[in-house]
Amino acid sequence: GIQVEQSPPDLILQEGANSTLRCNFSDSVNNLQWFHQNPWGQLINLFYIPSGTKQNGRLSATTVATERYSLLYISSSQTTDSGVYFCAVLYGTSYGKLTFGQGTILTVHP
């Protein structure tokens, strides 16, 4: 099956700093999504981005499908950005079966 690798595994920031999270995948994908899991366990869909670039406030994401990676940018980080960020992909004929990376644990200190 497809391999999804996220880096870094852990990231600690001071409030106001910027960061880049990376997701590498081993095969062509039909669907790529970024999620934030907050400290209470709720998963929030941040972006649906199989290719191209999207922005939503302080967050933006870029997927270069031909090179099999995606980047999530967080600017001017806030303590509420803390949590785990997951990249998830859909590939081949595995409709509905998103494969998740292991996540990046982000901690933002005030």
Binding site: N31, Y48, G96
Partner: protein, 114 residues
């Protein structure tokens, strides 16, 4: 409803008992998914539904696990003869369709098997 609703939010059971977990998707969403997240682990796919049919059951860990969906809406995940290794957060998600769609997750059911 406004979001994906799961119940119960917490379930403690004894080894060997059966449990039922419920998921109520966002109104109008035809696709429904079940995932499992064990402590410190990523998300593991269990099963997904398109309407009332389940094209992919490949993630169900054993024949003790089953799921159904009725009326294209509510889904129930049943675990029979629970084991301690079944302890996890069971997450349900829904999407408008099943191809190239964003998934929206519920807040999960924390299952603890003693």
């Amino acid at each position: 409803g406004a979001g994906v609703s799961q119940s119960p939010s917490n379930k403690v059971t004894e080894k060997g008992k059966d449990v039922e977990l419920r998921c109520d998707p966002i109104s109008g969403h035809t696709a429904l998914y079940w995932y499992r997240q064990s402590l410190g682990q990523g998300l593991e796919f269990l099963i997904y539904f398109q309407g009332n049919s389940a094209p992919d059951k490949s993630g169900l860990p054993s024949d003790r696990f089953s799921a159904e969906r009725t009326g294209g809406s509510v889904s129930t995940l049943t675990i029979q003869r629970t084991q301690q290794e079944d302890s996890a957060v069971y997450l349900c998600a829904s999407s408008p369709g099943f191809l190239n769609e964003k998934l929206f997750f519920g807040s999960g059911t924390q299952l603890s098997v003693l």
